[in-house]
């Protein structure tokens, strides 16, 4: 017996020894990897940002996610740029004038250089816009510049189409618009309107954005992009305002796992986490109150009702569905992360707009809303024996599911039987686009800070993005009139009337206004919460 045990011990010891060898081997491999990997001279101030998604591209013309534009905003300076509070301020243009009819803008380009010392000219902006609109490039966001004369024709490949822009000289740029669009200036902060370094793009083609080639006119320059790990930017010494840029290096770490990002923040391995693990909100409120930032964000969460389907043609049904949704219960009991109940389609505080047009019944107590909803359903011919039945679709997400279940139960009170149908995002949106749904969850985040950027979703001419297939002639007219109105006040009033029509007709049931949720270390200075949620690194500093 004892002999037996010894043998077994010997065997195990042997195996353990060889395992040590394995661990040692692994260590050696790893160690040598470390020595081979590149190291950078240590900058004094390094900002470490947890970014909640992998960037798509460093080429402004291929960027369509906020996670990517955060990085690109640090590298490129548009004619206008985001100020510390997210409002548009002078960028590459030091000044501009607008013609009386509001359709011609003339920009004076600031005397500044690309990061390789070549001057930035008006022609660089024209080259950028022409490239974005070139149909062969296939840029997702090209339509954002359609407000420029000829842009749509160029992008759709119309013969003889010409863009309405002109370089009067190297530092003067003239732009003609199809309509007086007061949001045009705000739009120039967007990556679609950035200039491109012609001399570099011509030389390297699509590789111009590789770290070894890239040339920028913004505060920071790309030095490294490791897919799924990080994007590293260092201060651009040639930036026109470099003297006022305190942070030397900024690293965007990709984190799609919110909990992992949060843990890194807690371990002081990140200074900023651009999203939080929402399910841990009460813990965060108790323990990281000085870092947690929840602020209104220019976005709306809504349910679209397919208005061209027979059962939803009756406005009373749509209104009843909207009335019966207890938004306060959804934001306070289901979400619990500071979202605000929505009774308008345009979030309050949106640019070039007065107070939104709220639903008339916004302030009624929920019991009364419910009573009204029941009445409307009865009038529309529905009863306990003849309930309204439909499918509510949502794309895969824990929160979408929880809200859908809540909605299903709230609707049950007015005798509605909603069946829930969940599909993966790509399938969901493909079906929404072709109108293959009855009621579906959707959301919209503004591309630029203007009410038109929400309300166009209800216009007939918007096409597939008008998920509800809402087609109200008066609404369409008002929106068209607003587009051609140069006077800001009148324009705002026209859009307000349009929104009032939409809120009465309820093709879209607004549920809540988005909020941005992030963790910002108290040692970061200059972080001002703002609705566009733009925080350029050049405005930030790190306290010693």
């Amino acid at each position: 017996m004892s002999d037996n045990t010894k043998t077994k011990k010997g065997l195990v010891n042997g195996l353990l020894k060889s395992s040590r060898a394995f661990v040692l081997g692994t260590a050696l491999i790893a160690g040598s990897m470390t020595m081979l990997s590149s190291t950078y001279a240590h900058a004094e101030k390094i900002l470490r940002i947890g970014n909640d998604g992998e960037p798509q591209s460093m080429d402004p013309h291929f960027i369509s996610t906020v996670q990517t534009s955060r990085i690109s905003d640090d590298m490129s300076l548009g004619l206008l740029t985001y100020g510390p509070d997210g409002e548009p301020v002078a960028g590459a243009a030091e000044s501009w004038t607008v013609s009386e009819d509001g359709k011609t803008y003339t920009f004076k380009i600031r005397d500044h250089n690309w990061s390789d010392g070549v001057p930035v000219t008006a022609q660089d902006f024209i080259a950028g816009w022409e490239r974005l609109l070139d149909p062969e490039l296939g840029a997702e966001y090209a339509s954002l510049l359609y407000i420029i004369e000829g842009a749509e024709a160029v992008n759709t490949g119309k013969e003889g189409a010409k863009l309405g822009v002109k370089a009067i000289d190297d530092h003067t740029l003239e732009v003609k618009l199809t309509a007086p669009a007061p949001y045009f200036l705000a739009q120039l902060t967007h990556q679609t309107a950035f200039a491109i370094p012609r001399h570099v793009v011509e030389k390297f083609g699509k590789d111009w954005v590789k770290p070894e080639h890239i040339v920028v006119n913004g505060a920071y320059k790309l030095v490294e992009w490791l897919p799924n790990v990080h994007t590293k930017l260092v201060k651009n010494d040639k930036f026109y305002d470099a003297a006022n840029v305190p942070i030397d290096e900024v690293i965007y770490y990709t984190y799609e796992d919110r909990t992992a990002m949060q843990n890194r923040f807690r371990a002081n391995e990140l200074d900023v986490a651009r999203d939080i693990a929402s399910e841990q909100i009460s813990w965060l409120r108790d323990n990281l109150a000085d870092s947690l930032r929840i602020a209104p964000y220019a976005g709306i969460y809504y349910y679209a009702i397919r208005t061209d389907k027979d059962k939803f043609k009756d406005v009373r049904v749509r209104k009843a569905l909207s009335l019966a949704l207890n938004r306060e219960a959804i934001t306070d009991a289901v979400l619990k992360t500071g979202e605000l109940p929505a009774y308008s389609f345009v979030p309050p505080g949106t640019g070039n707009y007065a107070e939104p047009a709220y639903t008339a019944w916004k302030d009624l107590p929920y019991a009364e809303k419910l009573a009204e909803a029941k009445k409307l359903m009865a009038e529309a011919g529905y009863s306990a024996d003849n309930p309204l039945k439909f499918t509510l679709r949502y794309n895969t997400s824990e929160n979408h599911k929880r809200i859908a279940i809540a909605a299903q139960n709230m609707w049950k009170q007015i005798g509605v039987e909603a069946e829930l149908f969940n599909s993966e995002g790509k399938i969901h949106y493909a079906d929404l686009k072709v109108g293959d749904f009855e009621v579906a969850r959707a959301g919209w985040i503004a591309d630029y800070n203007d009410a038109q950027n929400f309300l166009f979703l209800g216009e007939e001419r918007t096409g597939p993005l008008n998920y509800a297939a809402f087609d109200n002639p008066r609404y369409n007219e008002l929106m068209l009139a607003a587009e051609n109105e140069g006077d800001l006040k009148k324009r705002s009033s026209l859009m307000h009337q349009a929104e009032a029509i939409m809120m009465e007709a309820q093709p879209y049931i607004p549920i809540y206004y988005y909020v941005s949720k992030q963790l910002i270390s108290p040692k970061i200075k200059g972080w001002i919460d703002n609705a566009p949620d733009r925080h350029l690194t050049r405005w930030l500093d790190i306290a010693e």
Binding site: D3, N4, T7, K8, G10, L11, V12, L15, L16, S19, F22, T26, A27, I29, A30, G31, M33, T34, S38, E54, Q56, D59, F62, S64, E136, L137, G138, A139, E140, A142, S143, E152, N155, K210, W225, P227, N228, V229, Y253, Y255, E256, T259, A260, N263, R264, R266, A267, E269, E424, G425, K426, I427, H428, Y429, A430, K433, G443, W444, G463, P464
Partner: protein, 307 residues
């Protein structure tokens, strides 16, 4: 043996081709495309983009273009991570995934076999039950629970290792993801080893060996272990391929720059070329490792040697 090996290698080529073809069409049959998103694109722009990626051509023509380029070693561009080609993304991510995977499987093999043998030799004792109980828990606890737990305990509470990240590839960043990857494998291999070891120890040739008067140590080390390892070896083929091509859970929790995330992310994004790229990598690994396993099998199992 040699002709067998050559035959196996030759069969691998059409196998791979079939995998590529099936994957290509299955991916395209799935509803939704790379540009269906919350913010639907205006039809004219979608047309431009589809043309830029040849997605406007008939499916069979797209397949022809894809295979043609593949023969020239071109995996195409990634649709969603524009600045990299599929080949670049895989080359950038594969080393990390393979390093972690190999270390994990090596550790799993050593510990798994050791624990399994240890338990088998003390069959039905308290030690046996303890080892197998722990192994069962190891199999039962999913990675997405174990990984954040490790990160929380060692990274945040004890602060002896980074919670996540890759740094410049220093070893301290690799310890937790390797352990998290290895744990379920250790558990599985331990159970496999124990099971087959118990069976082998009761077999006739072991009785014969003991009857010859061989010492127990020799019986186990020279005779029993070879037979007991057979199921482990056949498990190792697919297991190694699986861990070396990365784990989406481990990679996203620990921020490992591997290729595991692409299997899920690229599929959800309908990034067709990237999906194809990782499928090919995975298929090649499976085919190669299964081939290796069969060769090792031949060496371990005397019954197969003669064939």
């Amino acid at each position: 043996m040699l002709s067998y090996a050559i035959r196996r290698l030759l069969i691998a080529i059409p196998t791979l081709f079939i995998v590529i073809t099936v994957a290509f069409f299955m991916m395209r049959i799935a509803p939704g495309g790379p540009f269906d998103q919350e913010r639907a694109l205006p039809p004219e722009i979608e047309k431009n983009i589809k043309a830029a990626y040849d997605l406007d051509k008939p499916l069979i023509e797209q397949y022809g273009i894809y295979i043609g380029k593949l023969f020239q070693g071109d995996f195409g561009p990634s649709i969603k991570i524009r600045d990299f080609s599929v080949a670049e993304l895989i080359m950038a991510g594969a080393p990390a995934s393979m390093q972690l995977g190999l270390s994990a499987i090596a550790i799993a093999l050593v510990f798994g076999v050791a624990f399994g043998t240890y338990a088998a030799l003390r069959q039905n004792s308290a030690v046996d039950f303890a080892v197998m109980g722990v192994a069962m828990i190891g199999i039962a606890i999913p990675n997405f629970v174990m990984a954040p737990l490790l990160s929380l305990v060692f990274g945040l509470y004890l602060s002896i290792l980074p919670t996540a990240g890759w740094g410049d590839g220093e070893i301290q960043y690799k310890i937790l993801p390797t352990i998290a990857l290895a744990l379920p494998q250790i558990a599985y291999i331990a159970r496999l080893t124990r099971g087959s070891m118990v069976e082998v120890l009761h077999s006739n040739y072991i009785r014969t060996a003991r009857a010859k008067g061989l010492r127990e140590k020799l019986v186990v080390n020279r005779h029993a272990i070879k037979g007991a390892l057979l199921p482990v070896v056949s498990y190792l083929g697919p297991a190694t391929a699986a861990v070396m091509t990365g784990s989406v859970v481990i990679e996203s929790i620990f921020g490992v720059p591997g290729i595991g995330t692409y299997f899920v992310k690229a599929a959800l994004n309908r990034d067709y070329p990237l999906v194809m790229g990782v499928v090919i990598v995975y298929a090649v690994m499976i085919i190669m490792l299964n081939f290796l396993v069969d060769m090792v099998y031949g060496l371990l199992d005397p019954k197969l040697k003669s064939h």
